[in-house]
């Protein structure tokens, strides 16, 4: 159990992109001292520097290509479905899902699968309900879609508020994760990681915009998928490509023996289980940096293809992390050079996040260990770049151009504001990364995904599917979801007890989504139904025209290139 808690705590640290947390896990809290600084790893540093060199070259190329706002926000709409699928996978697969899930499998076997599955099943929902309509109606941000036939000001302010809260907290999670990882993997100081990540993401986004961000994500996805495939093949070849042989050996050497082959104690309370499931599934469908990726493809056809490829890559990746976790049980836990002798049992040198890293060493030696370490760190860069661009576009495209300037601005000044916003977000992320070094960040997963599932997702779905939705309904319903989810997370165990030190949580569950998501939907519906203002009538009358564009794509073709 202690192992599992450590794995969770470390995983929660390793990125905000991670949802690996249930009651047990979150109750365990994040032990910030978990990552011990290791000896300086020159292989990893050299390979990471090569990665940075290549991505900076791409940024230089992208900067010369970037001319219009559509280039900056949406890579000119010229990304293919396959490329976008890879980029989405690169945006979504975090260092935490690589190190954290394999660590979870290493610690408790089958239970790791619960999270892999939860991480994946939001993608089909995005495809069936959101992707093509988002592409047909929107230009640069999901607020374009939510506010398509509603009042620009209030709806965009709501959407940008939700997006910025998600982006900033997600960034904190990534920054803290980067700081812990650099100690573990490179043997360098926390501060160096935070500053390096902050500086690089500002360069990628400010100079290279969406084009550079997309290619950083594509390269990272290829490296991560390639590296994980190599490790998994190494494991399977060791066991003659027989899962039965792998499992038999794992059961024999693992202290929990046969218990690793069945679900353990991770999911017991049905309310928490279902609320967790809803959060994982619909949270993914409301993340601003994920939604933004659908504006980079030329049409609905490519948008659909991108989800298919992304789902395939991400699903494949989670199956690999599973093999890696079991591989670590059989090849790492049995080798004294990786075991922390002082703690004994399964405890590894360097802490709970290390199974995949040591397995890479067991299979490919020092060079490959360096490669995987560099990939794990590069992974964070790809995620933070996507986040920063999404946050900057909420500030420049939604708040500045469409609310503050009421659409009367030039493309050039909008892009300039966006670049300044990227720099501002970079500075904020570095400062918060330093402030949060020793804070409990276990709440970040619950907070960001609950907001995405309870505020963004309901408003987006209602805007697309409900002909009766009005501005008043969207805004009140949206804020019910936003304030409700933020409030419940603050009152739940992770913040109320673990950060504020009160004895008992006021909100008894970890994830509020089971309550706040329906509340937001009902709020949208009810306050729209009660709204009979002239504006509401005009908004309802505008639905058929929206539906034609949303369903047929008519008028959307050139959206990204004006």
């Amino acid at each position: 159990m202690k192992m599992l808690k450590t794995a969770f705590a470390a995983a929660t640290l390793a990125a905000g992109g991670l949802m690996a947390a249930t009651t047990t896990a979150l109750a365990a809290g994040a032990d910030m001292g978990a990552a011990e600084k290791q000896a300086t790893n020159w292989h990893a540093i050299v390979m990471f520097v090569i990665f940075v060199g290549i991505t900076l070259g791409i940024t230089y190329w992208a900067a010369r290509k970037n001319k219009t706002a559509a280039d900056f926000y949406a890579a000119g709409g010229g990304i293919t479905g396959f490329q976008n699928g890879l980029a989405i996978a690169g945006d979504y697969m975090s260092a935490a899902s690589f190190l954290g899930i394999s660590a979870l499998v290493y610690g408790s076997g089958f239970d790791g699968l619960i999270f892999s599955v939860g991480w994946l099943v939001g993608w089909p929902i995005i495809l069936f309900l959101i992707a093509e309509r988002l592409r047909n109606l929107g230009k640069f941000t999901f607020a374009d879609v939510a506010s398509y036939r509603l009042a620009q000001g209030p709806v965009r302010i709501f959407a940008a508020t939700g997006a910025l809260i998600v982006v900033i907290f997600y960034l904190i999670g990534q920054m803290v994760g980067a700081g812990q990882l650099i100690k573990l993997l490179f043997g360098l100081d926390y501060m160096i990681a935070v500053v390096v990540v902050g500086a690089l993401m500002m360069i990628y986004v400010t100079f290279g915009g969406m084009t550079a961000t997309t290619w950083v994500q594509i390269i990272k996805a290829c490296l991560l998928l390639g590296g994980a495939t190599f490790i998994a093949l190494g494991v399977m070849s060791h066991f003659g490509f027989s899962f039965e042989a792998l499992f038999t050996k794992a059961v024999e050497v693992h202290p929990k023996h046969g218990a690793i082959m069945a679900p353990g104690s991770l999911v017991t309370n049905p309310v928490d289980a279902i609320s967790l499931g809803l959060t994982l599934m619909f949270g993914t469908a409301g993340l601003p940096h994920i939604l933004m990726r659908f504006f980079t493809v030329p049409n609905a056809k490519e948008a659909r293809k991108s989800v298919f490829y992304a789902t395939g890559f991400i699903g494949y990746f989670y199956i690999l992390t599973f093999i890696i976790g079991f591989g670590a049980i059989t090849l790492v836990a049995t080798d004294p050079q990786y075991i922390d002798a002082a703690k004994g049992g399964l405890a590894l040198k360097g802490g709970g996040n290390m199974p995949a890293i040591w397995l890479a060493h067991a299979i490919g030696g020092d060079m490959f260990l360096g490669f995987i370490s560099a990939v794990a760190f590069a992974t964070i860069l790809a995620v933070v770049s996507g986040l920063t661009l999404a946050g900057a576009s909420a500030i420049s495209h939604d708040l500045y151009a469409n609310v503050f300037a009421r659409g009367r601005t030039t493309e050039a000044s909008e892009v300039r504001v966006s670049k300044m916003a990227s720099l501002g977000l970079g500075v904020i992320a570095v400062i918060l990364g330093i402030i949060f070094e020793r804070q409990n960040v276990a709440f970040i997963v619950a907070l960001t995904f609950s907001i995405a599932a309870s505020a963004t997702f309901p408003v987006l779905v209602m805007a697309m599917f409900s002909k009766n939705l009005t501005t008043r309904g969207a805004v009140i319903g949206g804020y019910i979801g936003l304030i409700g989810s933020v409030g419940c997370v603050i009152l739940s165990k992770v913040v109320w007890v673990q950060s504020f030190g009160f004895a008992d949580p006021i909100f008894p569950f970890v994830y509020p989504t089971l309550f706040t998501m329906p509340a937001a939907f009902i709020g949208c519906w009810l306050f729209s139904a009660l709204d009979n203002s002239p504006r509401a009538q005009a908004e309802r009358a505008a639905y058929p025209a929206q539906a034609i564009r949303s369903e047929t794509g008519l008028g959307a073709e050139g959206a990204a290139s004006h």
Partner: protein, 97 residues
Amino acid sequence: MHDHIRNNPKFHELVTKRTSFAWTLTAIMLIIYFGFILLIAYGKAFLGTSLSGGTTTIGFPIGVAVILSAIVLTGIYVRRANGEFDELNRQIIEESR
């Protein structure tokens, strides 16, 4: 042009067919996923049953099947939407010109 599309029966056919297809697949995914979650909460012993007498338990193929089902369902939707539905869509836009 909008009126033309709105009055075109093919537009209604497209919206009705595609929307009901999308919601059906959504329902299937929800049933599979929440079925899996509930099985984990209430059917631990079943998932831990040995598969054909070896160490491998039934839980593993089921978990992998849930992952594969997500990929297969997206594939089914993309195939039909990019083929049949887009063809219908093309005709609607053609006829509105």
